[in-house]
Symmetry: C2
DNA sequence: CGGAAGATTGACGGCCTTCAAGATTAGTGG
DNA sequence: CCACTAATCTTGAAGGCCGTCAATCTTCCG
């Protein structure tokens, strides 16, 4: 039973363990955060922009995306979340949620509320540092995403984004330098990259024709990883996880 | 002496106090983080992209900006920092700094290192929650910035960005609905908004001619605040600070 | 089998960039 | 006090990237 729990909670513990070497006690406290397990179907938002009293979640399996809607109807996807990531953590800390979260596939999550989190911090302050690190890492990805949209053209942007996704998935064992399974539609990619879906299609064709990358039937294949990295100027320092920083 | 310190540290304590009602002890611990005071001149970077062992700082007076440089020479400014903001907090938590920080004017800061911060967390866990909130608030601003660049045209983007800066400055007593002193050049605005400085100039002219906003001689004047807010679809939920969330 | 969602391609146009050249301001040294 | 330089601001013209509109095709699922 405890073992099953351990396995299911791996992604988060593994992520945090990369920053802080977690003790037995800290592992136990972390496990205590995984009490209420829930599932959501694809498309049913679990965090709602502009509402208060939202819960936060830890994603156990499946993909989700966080996004903001503008009044003119446009949408900007802020980031995609994969197993081990927090969902809507900002929405419990800020008074009103500034964004929504939508499952892309059917997902499994565990619910976390603020008081549990604060108790956990009081018991093991190092966990507070670890969570702060995780939030900082999320912010670093948003920042890189900002650079994508602000200073890269559509092709570089697409290449960089798919490389980052690949690197993140590799860290939790869901991808490699060959490629990865990717449930994203061209519409979702468009909303994430600040492009039209038509242009996303054109860019993917171009990347395929130049032999660097193929995205077909739910699979991203890196046809020429080295060339792609150079083309996109991909530098994964901000994802670096080679050993805990705090002993 | 203690009083002088209190006044100088106001911006951060004020910011955190908006989330967590801070006790005397927590105020004291917070003050303990403001030991090493330093000054930097405009243009001398105090955090360096790609380097390790960086320190973090709390900005006491002046303006700074955090940015990333691409290999092709382009630069993207992630955000501007004003008094009370952290500088380079991510760079101490991640192994290598993913960004640089440059003072825009001469600035006054206090240095903070990780171990001090962790000690503070251990002493007063609520402070950990408060810092986590502050980091989340920073992330919310970056996210809104992402929406700016991804889904707004140049004029809306400029209007939204200058409105946000005004709202942030008002929270620390440096601005109002009339306007605020703003030391940013058109080049800096261009790098922040993902535009060319030429286009920044054109957009500012258009906003001036339509009677919504005038930016001249280091001062942003809101000529028609209501119209501007509607034009930019500005909704400051993510900056909301009306009373502490945690008692 | 019909309908919806996604993928694909072409034509046209607009926003914004790049290149180029002045104008204005501020700081510096003679 | 004035010439000189550098930085910033300003404006014009040409062109490219990417958005919009429109149509066709494929796939999937009830």
């Amino acid at each position: 039973m405890g073992i099953v729990h351990n396995i299911k909670n791996m992604p988060l513990a593994r992520k945090l363990g990369a920053f802080v070497a977690l003790s037995e006690i800290e592992h136990t406290v972390l496990e205590g955060l995984h009490k209420r397990r829930r599932t959501f179907c694809a498309g049913r938002d679990l965090v709602h922009q502009g509402q208060s009293g939202q819960a936060a979640y830890i994603l156990v399996s499946g993909w989700a995306c966080s996004y903001k809607i503008l009044m003119n109807g446009h949408r900007q996807i802020v980031d995609f979340q994969i197993p081990g990531d927090f969902l809507g953590l900002r929405s419990v800390l800020l008074k009103l949620s500034d964004h929504s979260v939508e499952p892309i596939s059917d997902i499994e999550v565990t619910e976390v509320n603020v008081s549990d989190l604060l108790e956990a911090f009081a018991e093991t302050p190092r966990l507070a540092a670890a969570v702060l690190w995780a939030v900082s890492r999320d912010e670093a990805m948003v920042v890189e995403h900002l650079v994508d949209i602000g200073r890269r053209n559509a092709a570089e942007r697409m290449a960089h984004f798919l490389l980052e996704l690949g690197a993140r998935l590799s860290l939790v064992g869901l991808g490699s330098k060959a490629g990865y399974a990717c449930p994203l539609s061209q519409y979702l990619l468009a909303d994430a990259l600040g492009l039209s879906s038509i242009h996303v299609n054109r860019v993917l064709r171009k990347l395929r024709e130049t032999g660097m990358l193929t995205f077909r039937e739910g699979y991203v294949a890196f046809d020429n990883y080295e060339q792609l990295i150079e083309f996109a100027e991909f530098d994964p320092v901000y994802l670096d996880q080679a050993g805990p920083l705090l002993p």
